[in-house]
């Protein structure tokens, strides 16, 4: 009984093959990079019912995401944010998968999922206050059904699995979604999440955004086999889709959500895309990757691709594009205003919410620090 790596198209390979692991065209898609619609038997049924309205909404959210992301970068450059993790290039993955969600589903994002938060209904301040250093997490998780952005790589995959175990116990059809990157797949937590999800048949979807890079490390450092190929070994079916094809992302996500809702347990989606910008605004990607590679990916742009398709289908015209552009500018202005208008909370609030229940010693520490600060005021008064 020899097990070897078998992929639908490649047959058995004797050993992990980095070339294969990073073959960005070994994916399922319904839109070619130039926007041509192609058939895919696995994906097509899931998007047959997408209305022009929905198609336009997808496009709109992707444009909004890109604009919002550009604003994040700009605000950081202007010293208004301490840091920003750009998602340019990943709009189809984020918006497409989020589009497929129901309101009761709950997402567990990483730090880069701006487009997912948008899809969940985040408000302008929600995107920026944490990056500004005002709060660790800006939004109310119950309002947008999204956990605080996770910085500890992979940790959220377990939270999503646990939440899904809870949904299962509640007898609900709510699904948890864990978003993480290609680099994250190396963490023990992500693998343990697959073990637990599989063991309990938990209704969770693992969305692995393979944007080819974990800071400066290409995906081949993390794996010599396509990441989507890992899940089946845990008893979890997976799909590897073109992460720059919004329709493919919607389809894959609907497939996975449907499985979860029907009690068939977890699924894994590898969305093959590209991080067009730096890892964060602190990063200098020219140190580790070629301009050619980036250039090649501009020709696979997810927004241009969907736009070309929608125009060809007559679903979107110049007027529609203008409207979207205006909406994007309006969002950017709101985000900027929320950022610049932010105020820093009073120092004594440092001590709040460490514990949910009363905590004498910490209350004393708070009082002492308040008294200490008040000492300055007295001195100023003198």
């Amino acid at each position: 009984m020899t097990y070897t790596q078998t992929t639908p198209d490649h047959g058995a390979a004797d050993r992990g093959d980095p070339e294969h692991a990073s073959d960005v065209d070994d994916v399922a898609r319904v839109l070619e990079p130039d926007g041509t619609r192609v058939a895919d038997a696995a994906l097509d049924p899931w998007i047959a019912d997408l209305s022009p309205h929905e198609l336009r909404a997808l496009h709109r959210d992707m444009v909004l995401t890109r604009r919002l992301d550009a604003e994040g970068v700009a605000l950081q450059r202007q010293g208004q944010l301490a840091l920003w993790a750009p998602c340019r290039g990943q709009e189809a993955t984020q918006v497409g998968t989020a589009h497929a969600l129901a309101p009761g589903d709950f997402v567990f994002p990483s730090y880069r999922e701006h487009g997912v938060l948008l899809g969940r209904g985040a408000q302008p301040a929600d995107y920026v206050l944490a990056w500004r250093g005002e709060e660790h997490s800006a939004y109310d998780h119950t309002t947008i059904n999204a956990a605080p952005p996770q910085i500890i790589i992979g940790a959220q995959s377990l939270h999503a699995t646990g939440w899904a175990m809870g949904a299962q116990r509640d007898g609900s059809t709510d699904v948890a979604v864990a978003y993480f990157g290609d680099g994250a797949t190396s963490q023990g937590d992500v693998n343990e999440a697959m073990v637990f999800a599989s063991s309990f048949g938990a209704p969770v979807v693992f969305v692995c955004t393979n944007n080819q890079w974990a800071i400066s490390e290409p995906v081949t450092v993390q794996s010599t086999f396509p990441l989507a190929g890992r899940a089946p070994g845990f008893g979890i079916p997976s799909m590897r889709v073109d992460g720059n094809d919004a329709l493919a992302c919607v389809a894959a996500m609907r497939w996975a959500l449907d499985r979860a809702r029907r009690g068939e347990g977890p699924s894994f989606i590898e969305a093959v895309t590209y991080r067009m910008g730096p890892h964060t605004t602190s990063d200098d990607p020219t140190r580790y990757r070629d301009a050619d590679e980036v250039e090649a990916w501009t020709r696979r742009d997810p927004i241009a691709r969907l736009e070309a398709y929608l125009r060809a289908e007559g679903v979107l015209d110049d007027g529609g594009l203008d409207e979207v552009a205006r909406a994007a500018d309006a969002l950017a202005i709101e985000v900027r205003a929320a950022c610049i208008g932010a105020t820093t909370r009073a120092p004594e609030t440092l001590f709040d919410h460490v514990y949910a229940e009363p905590h004498g010693p910490l209350e004393r520490q708070k009082a002492e620090y308040a008294a200490y600060l008040a000492g300055f005021d007295q001195e100023d008064a003198r």
Binding site: P148, T161, G188, D189, F196, H353, A356, E357
Partner: protein
Amino acid sequence: MTSLTLGGAIGAGLARAMQDDDRVLLMGEDIGKLGGVFRVTDGLQRRFGAERVIDTPLAEAGIVGTAVGLALRGYRPVVEIQFDGFVYPAFDQIVCQVAKLHYRSSGRIRMPLVIRIPWAGGVGAAEHHSESPEAYFVHTAGLRVVAASNPQDAYVMLRQAVASDDPVIFFEPKRLYHSKAEVDVDIDLADAPPMHLARVAREGTDATIVTYGAQVRTALDAALAAEDEGLSLEVIDLRSLSPLDMNTVAASVRKTGRVVVTHEAAREAGLGAELVASITEQCFEYLEAPPARVTGHDIPYPPSKLEKHHVPDLDRILHAVDRVLERGTAAPAAATIEGGVR
């Protein structure tokens, strides 16, 4: 009143908590059919079903991490770590998630999670089965840390821990699992002392011994032995390790002026350091002698044949009592009752 072992009292507490609140779930390795390697959860899966008493895959980060998710969904998971030495794979989830999520979410997320840890040595166990990691958790803001030393406290504190909206690390002294006492299982939690308060386990006037967990028993034995020599020792059972009930500790030290702190964990940056530091800060003018620490040595837990030289016993405590009483480094009292060095 029911006669229960400490382990049995925890089991009874779990059963009661599960009965009172559907959202309470148990998770851990071998806690179902087997009832846990210490049988603390014995019978609970049969009673409450496999959906609520969950045998998990063998992965501690996974257990704690999924418990975080369950808490986010509104459940109140009680996690069992099979032995003290196996909590470290879950350290990241505990320190970065369990302890911090309430703060990270500006109070919007609550983490009513209990992490039960069979704890510490003196039971002749193999490597990694006798760890005393409490200082790591005490140093971690956002956690509450408790340790029961008797069945009644174990029963009540377990239920209080489950009822708390904060995450609680619940240390269970292995060495006392089988010690028995009468437990009032019908006690109204409102009547019981709150989890964060220490307890004067024995009153005395000459010196104070501050300790917790299984060392409470050893300290009481020491106090009994000292009585024969005409010494009156006060013994404080901390119960809560974080927060520390320094009011109770300081009141005692102000009375006696002399204090010995004892625990099994290594000395360096252990909980004893915090106690001595806080005592010194709060009782400086009352101290007749420098506080003394009697702790495990600054070594990894040794092979079990040598553990009696590591876990502080009655003689080492009395030796330190002599020191704080400035009775010279007298020869240590002969080991009069069990637990002597030789």
